[in-house]
Every structure is written in C-alpha cells, then in structure tokens.
C-alpha cells in the first residue's frame, strides 16, 4: 500500500494572511491575522472575514478576460506568486502539454458571478450582457481558466467535495502520475468570498461575530475566507515530498462531523499507511480547526487519541479564516513552510484551550526541527482527507 513519494517542486499560496509565501511566513511569525470585519456585499452578515482585497484591482490579462470573475482573478493572482507560473511553464516544456495534468479543487468556484447576474437581471429576467458567459457559470470555471492560463492540453478536472476539495487533489494527482497518465501535475484550489457561503453558513448558525478562535473553550464559530494556492508534483528530484494521503467518508450527516470522528481517523490512518509510517513520526499537524463547536471538539479528541504528546498541532484559521475548498492547498502550503523553516505555527486567537484538547494542540508558535507534517481537511457531506508531507533533504 505505501506509495513512492512525489516531489513538490514548486508551491505558493495567497490568502488574507499574505500574497505569496514570504508574506504568509511573515504573518505566521509575527502572528498577524488577516481577519477583518465583514464588509463584503451590500448587506453584510455581522462576522469577520479573510478577504484578499487586492483581487479587486487585479483584472485578468486581456488574453484571459473571457474568464473574468472574482474566483478566476484570485486564481490568477495566486499563480503569479513565487514564480509558480514559471515552474509550471518549465514542466510544460519538459514533459509536454498533454503530460502535465491539472487537478483543481474548489467548493463554490465562480458562483459569485452567477449571484451578481441574478442581482442585476434585466426587465425580462435575463442576465446583464457582460455576465451572459457560460464559462463562468459552471463548477469547472476556474479549472478551465487554469488550463488556458497554463497552456496545457491534457487532463484537467475539478474536484468539488466542499472543504476537502483541494486536499483530495493531491491524492488524485498521485494516482494519475503512478498510473503513467501524467508526468507531473499542477494541483491546487481557489475559493472566493460570495453571498452563498456568507449567508449559507450564517443560516446554519456557524459564523462567529468575532475573530474566530479555533479550539478555544469559548469559541463561537467560523470566519469565512478566500484563498488560492498551487503545487507542482513530479516524480523525481530533491525538495519537499508528498509522502502519503488518506481519504474517507463519514457516512453520517451532511453538515455535522461523525461524533467520534471515525472518518477522520480512517483518513489519518490511511495516510500513515501510504507513507509507511507510524503516528509517532508526525512532527506537526495543521488541523482543520474551523472554530465551530462541533468540529474542534471531535478533531481534538481524534488527535489526542492517535498521536504522541510530542507531536505539535494547531489550526491556522485565525490567520486566514476558513477558505473552504481552498483550505486544503492553503494549509498544505503552510505545512510545507513549517517544515522548511522549522517553525510550527500555533493557534492564533485562542486564549484558553478547550479541556478536550490534548498536549499536542498549541497556542504559541514553536521553533523546532520538523521532518514530517500532516494537513487535515474535512468537508460537508462527510468528505475527509489527510495529507502527509516530508521536508526537503
């Protein structure tokens, strides 16, 4: 069952905590949150959000402006950081246009464009002319945009399993490379703020009117955020590695986790089995840690049960908010940064940890040599994914 580790030859992330990895790392080190009071839309819900404001001033270049919308702008902004476009272009040159797959994760894709159209229907209930564009009113909008932006011609697929979307892309890409259908894969995800998620999570009483406090005893719900992140996976070479992954379903409820976290445990154990490792080899875990009452309670119990006390664990959503379908890639990038810079981020905004938390869950950042890091993502519909990464040699 163990897999051959894949090389992660480039990675990047953009969120409210920073555009590109240098800003992200600086925000993590200085414990500077990207959360601000919600000012999104005309009648904003009373909550905090992780907004990437520069998106509004970053139109798509003219050759890509058929895909114009907030989600694709954010994806483009993300692609242009950390020389990721150059790395993807080099892979395209090296392997060929049909040999680099795109496996992209999103939850709501560019539904913000559909919302905008409905808010501006003409007297005959038609979309306004600039939004009569089928390309942006479908879940694959951003995947399709990426294929054109990266000038690739092979496999290009969108994974949309809510908040596990851009974690599961690593698993699917590994299978494509292992079975010889691709030599490399661009994986990643983008989700952008939109009415659907702000009002939707509000309708479920899951959003907090304060900056979110993951794992805090008095946590009061989530903050929504937006992010774009990407990684390039290849077979050979040095650098950080994808060591393993595990996927599972809760088979329990559409919007609540399994009370004992059975699906989460299965995903974690499968990721360790694919890496051929035991739980005590995991140095850092970036938790799902949304700051909802239920998620954090279940997740803390799972971590306490499965991991040794020396493993460091934290939620970084106090920096970025919950970026939904982009959380998997964003937090994978944070995990890779933790390994590279020997710094396990703590849990920003938490003051008094819930008594259910074991010694693994930390509030403060910890300087330590970290060889392996895990990232956990759990989504609506009970979709779970655990990813295991190794530091570059």
């Amino acid at each position: 069952m163990p897999i051959i580790p894949l090389r992660i030859s480039a990675f990047t992330a953009t969120s409210a905590a920073g555009t590109g990895v240098d800003e992200m790392l600086d925000a993590l080190r200085s414990r500077r949150s990207g959360l601000t009071h919600n000012d999104f839309g005309t009648q904003p819900v009373d909550t905090y959000i992780g907004r990437v404001s520069s998106v509004e001033n970053s139109p798509l270049p003219s050759h890509l402006n058929r895909w114009e919308c907030r989600n694709n702008r954010l994806a483009w902004l993300g692609l242009n950081q950390d020389r990721f476009l150059e790395a993807a272009a080099a892979a395209r040159e090296r392997y060929g246009k049909t040999r680099v797959a795109i496996v992209f994760g999103t939850s709501t894709s560019s539904i913000g464009a559909t919302e905008e159209a409905y808010a501006n229907l003409d007297e005959e209930d038609r979309f306004p002319p600039h939004l009569r564009n089928p390309l942006v009113h479908t879940p694959h909008s951003t995947g399709d945009f990426l294929q054109h932006a990266l000038e690739l011609e092979g496999i290009c697929i969108t994974v949309a399993t809510a908040c596990s979307s851009s974690a599961k892309v690593f698993a699917q890409a590994e299978r494509l490379i292992r079975s010889g259908l691709a030599d490399a894969a661009v994986v990643g995800g983008t989700d952008s703020l939109c009415g659907s998620v702000l009002f939707g999570f509000n309708s479920l009483d899951l959003v907090s009117d304060k900056p979110c406090r993951p794992f805090d005893a008095s946590r009061s719900g989530i903050n929504l955020g937006e992010a774009a992140g990407f990684a390039l996976l290849e077979r050979d070479g040095g650098g950080p590695k994808l060591l393993g992954y595990g996927e599972s379903s809760d088979a329990f409820h559409m919007s609540s986790p399994h009370p004992e976290g059975l699906g989460a445990r299965k995903a974690i154990n499968d990721s360790l089995a694919r890496a051929g490792m035991a739980a005590d080899a995991v140095d850092y875990i970036n938790l799902h840690g949304t700051a909802s009452r239920k998620n954090d309670e279940v997740e803390a119990k799972v971590i306490g049960d499965l991991f040794v006390t020396s493993t460091l664990a934290s939620s970084t959503k106090g920096w970025t908010g919950h970026t939904l379908g982009a959380a998997g890639i964003l937090e994978s990038v944070i995990t890779l940064l933790a390994l590279e810079h020997s710094m396990a981020p703590g849990t920003l905004n938490a003051a008094q940890l819930d008594s259910v938390c074991g010694p693994q869950i930390r509030i403060e950042n910890t300087e330590a040599q970290l060889r392996t890091g895990m990232s956990l993502s759990f989504g609506f519909g009970g979709s779970n994914c655990a990813l295991l990464f190794g530091r570059g040699g």
């Binding site: 229907l121 294929q147 949309a160 009002f199 519909g381």
Partner: protein, 275 residues
C-alpha cells in the same frame, strides 16, 4: 484488442424520463424496442425513506437511483465501494434557488438548501444512505465531465486494484440561469467497475489514452443521443450504446490534446448480453 489496460463492468444503472432502467435502456439502444412514449418525471430511489425521497434534490434522486441499480446489478454491497460522482453543473435547481434568494432576501436562505448546494451533495447522501465510509469524490470538467470522471474511476480501479462505483448525472437548468447554461431533462448512469474478471463481470472494457482524435461515433449515436438530447451528460450515451451491443469502440476527448479510447467486449461467461 487495443493496447493499454482492461477493466471489467459488473453492473450498470441508467435513468432518464424515457430510459427508466438499464434493462429497458439497453433494448432501446439496440433498437429492439422504441423509446418509451410516456416519460416519468423523476425516479424514486427506494434507498431513501419515503419522506426523504420526496424532498431529495433531483440530482440526489437521479444519482442514488442509478448507483443503487448498478450495485444490485453487480451484486455488490454499496458500502464496500469507493465512488466517483461526476456532474457537469451540479444541482442547477439549487443554484437557481441560492442565486435568486440571495438577490431577493439573503437572510432567508434555507440551511438545508445551502448544505445541499455543495457539488458533493449526491455523493454525501449516497455515503449516508448506504453507510459507506470508503472515499468518494465529486468532480466536474465542463463538457468533458463524463470522460474525465470515468478516467478517474478507471485510474482508481487500475492503480489501487479497487472495485469502484462511477456515477454521472446532470439535470436541467432553471430560471434565469437556463439562458446561459445548456442542460435539459434529467439523466444519470452508473457503472460498477472491477480490476479483475470476476463471476459478476459482464463486459471487459479495454482502455487507453491517446492523442486527440476526432470522436469515434457510430450512426446509432445520433439516434441514441436524441434520448438524452440536451442533457449536459449526454456524452455518456456512446459508451452505454457499446455496452448495450456488447461490443464496439468509442473515444472521448479528455482535453484539447488528449483522448480516452474505449473498446467494449462481452465476457465469455455472460449468458445474456444485457442481463
């Protein structure tokens, strides 16, 4: 036989208003019986309790119907199968509801409709209804959704020696969204695919990827296509046609420069071709 990999189809499920089961669909596809005149509005999957059956979104009703029929055809316990759910557009009726409610009275969004709006709602309901803790995924790839979803299922079968359920479905666009999104009717199909030629295997499917080629279409495709015309998942009909005839080749574009080539062959131990 083409070079590449071989997978085995153990079970098939189909539903559209005029193709209410694989048994009937395969006879219609072979031209043995005419398409049903009386069309049914939506399926009624017995997997769900009666009250949930009525309330389930159309995408959930269609996909659970075809998934459970494929599993019973394959004599497989649904809880044992990892699954791949593909839909071009997801639940277009819920997208219309969400966008309209947000434009009119956003604070009135229904929490149930919201959690049903995720692209993996059908897969999630399937996992809950069958108690399946195996991984599922939910994918989309615009007009290439059927082929890219099928490829992911075949890849899981091939590289993890797995027995995988593949479900593909789309429904019709509603409201103002219908002016930009082209999809009509309700249609779904499901396949249980195994890596080994078990006693349940009904067809062998040889598959490979190749350079972009123009799709291999038989004259039957045009007639069959009219059965699901306008549905965003209509492309599935080419493969279903080859399965109904127990033989033949078809090819699907995966991307601008890559295609998925498939060749269907009947199993020697098969007693009735569409049993």
């Amino acid at each position: 036989m083409m070079a590449g990999h071989t997978a085995y189809i153990e079970g098939i499920g189909v539903w559209s208003p005029v193709l209410p089961s694989w048994d009937e669909a395969s006879r219609i596809l072979r031209g043995e019986t005419p398409p049903l005149q009386e069309s049914r509005k939506r399926p009624s999957p017995d997997l769900l309790p009666p009250n949930e059956r009525r309330r389930a979104p159309d995408t959930v009703a269609v996909s659970l119907e075809v998934a459970s029929k494929a599993c019973s055809h394959a004599q497989r316990d649904p809880a044992s199968l990892p699954s791949v759910f593909a839909s071009t557009h997801g639940d277009l009726a819920i997208t219309d509801y969400m966008a309209e409610t947000l434009a009119q009275a956003p604070e009135l969004i229904s929490p149930t409709k919201f959690h049903n709006s995720v692209h993996n709602a059908a897969a999630g309901y399937w996992a809950i209804a069958t108690g399946c803790m195996q991984p599922y995924t939910a994918v989309s790839a615009s007009h290439l959704s059927f082929a890219n979803g099928l490829l992911e299922a075949l890849v899981q079968v091939h590289c993890d020696n797995a027995n995988v359920l593949y479900v593909a479905y789309d429904i019709e666009a509603q409201g103002p969204l219908a002016s930009v999104v082209n999809s009509t009717g309700r249609f779904g199909c499901a396949l249980v695919v195994n890596s080994r030629p078990t006693a349940q295997a009904k067809f062998a499917v040889h598959w490979n990827t190749g350079a972009a080629a123009k799709p291999i279409e038989s004259t039957a495709d045009t007639q069959c296509a009219s059965l699901v015309a306008g549905n965003a998942m209509a492309g599935a009909i080419s493969l279903l046609d080859r399965l109904a005839r127990s033989e033949g080749r078809c090819a699907y574009a995966l991307g601008p420069g890559l295609s998925l080539e498939l060749e269907v062959e009947t199993m020697k131990n098969e007693s009735g071709s569409a049993a």
